[in-house]
């Protein structure tokens, strides 16, 4: 019995310690729960949904919420609740994919800069500085105007403009990792720089990358909402939370038909809040520097 206990103690990885800490963080667990719920709803809406998101019913436009239409209907008689769930699919995938792009870029450039140092580091950091002084929404609307709007362009724009944060954090981590003995050992064993980065550096920065990517998803979703609100994001008839909010650009909708825009905005708000709760929890649990 004692032996087993001891073994468990020895076997407690940093990951397990982190999970344990995370479980105690009520806000983080709450956030995770909400996110899982939203994700499941987004995945299974084609099976569960009663309505087609683009089915028009011109005899029943602007219906207030009722038992039949939980969140009423819009200007074309489409069911708002169904569109909200389909919109969640779009908004969540924009958040995830754009973060995938920015995390990929950030990790690659950050680890190369931190690992090789000197001139390489200098050049990459100057590029980071260049991207950091771009005003996000201004560049984003310019690019959207030139390349055209649409869901893929939103993902690319948001991904290409948001990698600087992760890049700088990864670089700082790699800079300190580079001095460790096991990196020296891997070099002495004859591993190439590439192998060293992949096998020995990346696993050690994974926690940090996950934490800051989580927070990055929030940024991606916010960018989608903002750009689609401006009419430069996801193009109708495809529903997204951002372009549902764009309905509120009309003063009539804003004043009379709250169910057309408040649910979408609230969905964005709750998603971002949950991501921030979870992200903060993950950071407290896994980022060694915070503790």
């Amino acid at each position: 019995m004692m032996n087993q206990n001891k073994q468990e103690e020895n076997g407690t990885s940093l990951f397990k310690v982190g999970i344990k800490r995370l479980k105690k963080d009520k806000m983080a667990v709450f956030g995770l729960g909400i996110l899982i719920l939203f994700t499941l709803a987004a995945i299974f809406v084609p099976i569960l949904g009663q309505y087609d998101p683009s089915a028009q019913d011109l005899l029943n436009t602007y219906q207030p919420p009722s038992a039949k239409h939980w969140l009423g209907t819009d200007e074309l008689g489409r069911d708002v609740f169904t569109r909200l769930l389909y919109g969640g699919r779009v908004s969540l995938s924009v958040g995830l994919i754009s973060t995938g792009i920015s995390a990929g870029f950030g990790v690659f450039l950050g680890s190369v800069a931190g690992y090789f140092g000197k001139a390489v580091d200098g050049i990459i950091m100057r590029i980071t500085d260049i991207f950091m002084c771009f005003p996000f929404y201004v560049i984003a609307i310019t690019v959207a105007a030139i390349w055209g709007s649409g869901i893929w362009n939103i993902m690319l724009i948001s991904g290409f403009l948001n990698w600087t944060n992760i890049c700088r954090i990864v670089r700082a981590e790699v800079l300190s990792l580079r001095q460790r003995e096991y990196i020296e050992a891997s070099k002495a064993l004859g591993l190439s720089d590439f192998e060293t980065i992949i096998k020995h550096i990346l696993p050690n920065i994974l926690a940090v990358v996950i934490v800051y990517s989580t927070l990055g998803i929030a940024k991606g979703i916010l960018s989608e909402a903002g750009l689609s609100y401006l009419g430069l994001g996801v193009t109708p008839p495809q529903a997204s939370w951002g372009n549902m909010l764009a309905a509120a650009q009309s003063l009539r909708v804003l004043s009379l038909y709250w169910w057309l825009w408040i649910p979408a905005g609230t969905a964005v708000f709750i998603t971002i809040l949950s991501i921030n709760f979870l992200g903060d929890g993950l950071r407290d649990a896994f980022d060694a520097k915070v503790n």
């Binding site: 996000f136 929404y137 310019t142 609100y229 909010l245 708000f269």
Partner: protein, 320 residues
Amino acid sequence: MRQYIIKRLLILIPIFLGVSIIIFALIHTAPGDPYAYMVESGLPIEEKEIQLQKIGYYDSLPVKYIKWLGNVLHGNLGYSIRYAEPVTAVLGRRIGNTALLSVTSLAASTLLSVFLGILAAVKKKTFTDHIISVLSLIGISVPTFFLALGLIKIFSIDLNLLPVSGIETTGTNYTGWRRAADIFRHMFLPFLVLTCAQTASMVRYTRSAMLEVLGQDYIRTARAKGLAKRVVIHLHAFRNTLIPITTLVAMSLGHLLSGTVLIETVFVWPGMGNLLYQAVSNRDYPLIVSGTMLLSICILLANLLADILYGIIDPRIRYD
């Protein structure tokens, strides 16, 4: 210190060039001929030809870039398609309105976030601290334009207390105080939204800055020699917290200037953000490019200011 400033200014040059190359590349991927709008419209063809030659229409790409950059540096930004006048004139009319909105909300959010951040740090792990943390999380999670729409709905439409949009009531010719009051009424909601958003993100930094200072030895010494907690916080800790906060404020200025696109569009506030959004809808490329360039430079300079101020305020920082 002077050496450091010079060094920083030198680093600024490659960054500025990088920004301009990317923006230049962006114009060249734009549909249509950007050069058609760089010369004054309505000129006879021969004169247009001369002008086109002068600005580099017939040159190779690198030469084109250099000539374009030269024009930019001379403040020669071309002509707006929509407004048919020099871009600088159009931008000049709008930049003041954006500055009015962003500077006031930056000032308000700085005061508010310093107050709340210090309060939260001093009362660490109490109910007050938790409430402030949760409020700031809510503040950074709510999309600013959604908050703006909600406030318009409540205050402008339902309660009919404030105007929905714009900067002045159209059709009135108020002067002096009445005009100021009118602008204030229009400004209130966008100001409120920007202040809330800004405060929410700044509080987290002011709180941790204060916590860090409170953990220092000299604070313990001050307490140990018998000074009251209040005195220590007001005299010793507060002053030292101002160092990181100054940097934060300078850095925020640049982002506030650029982040107003959404808010200005929601409130139809006639500033830079709204102008650029309209320029995008009108495909007014010369205006878009110059505006983007201008805002990037603002952010660049704000970041530089942050670094320099940091060095001036904190005597412990020595750059050699």
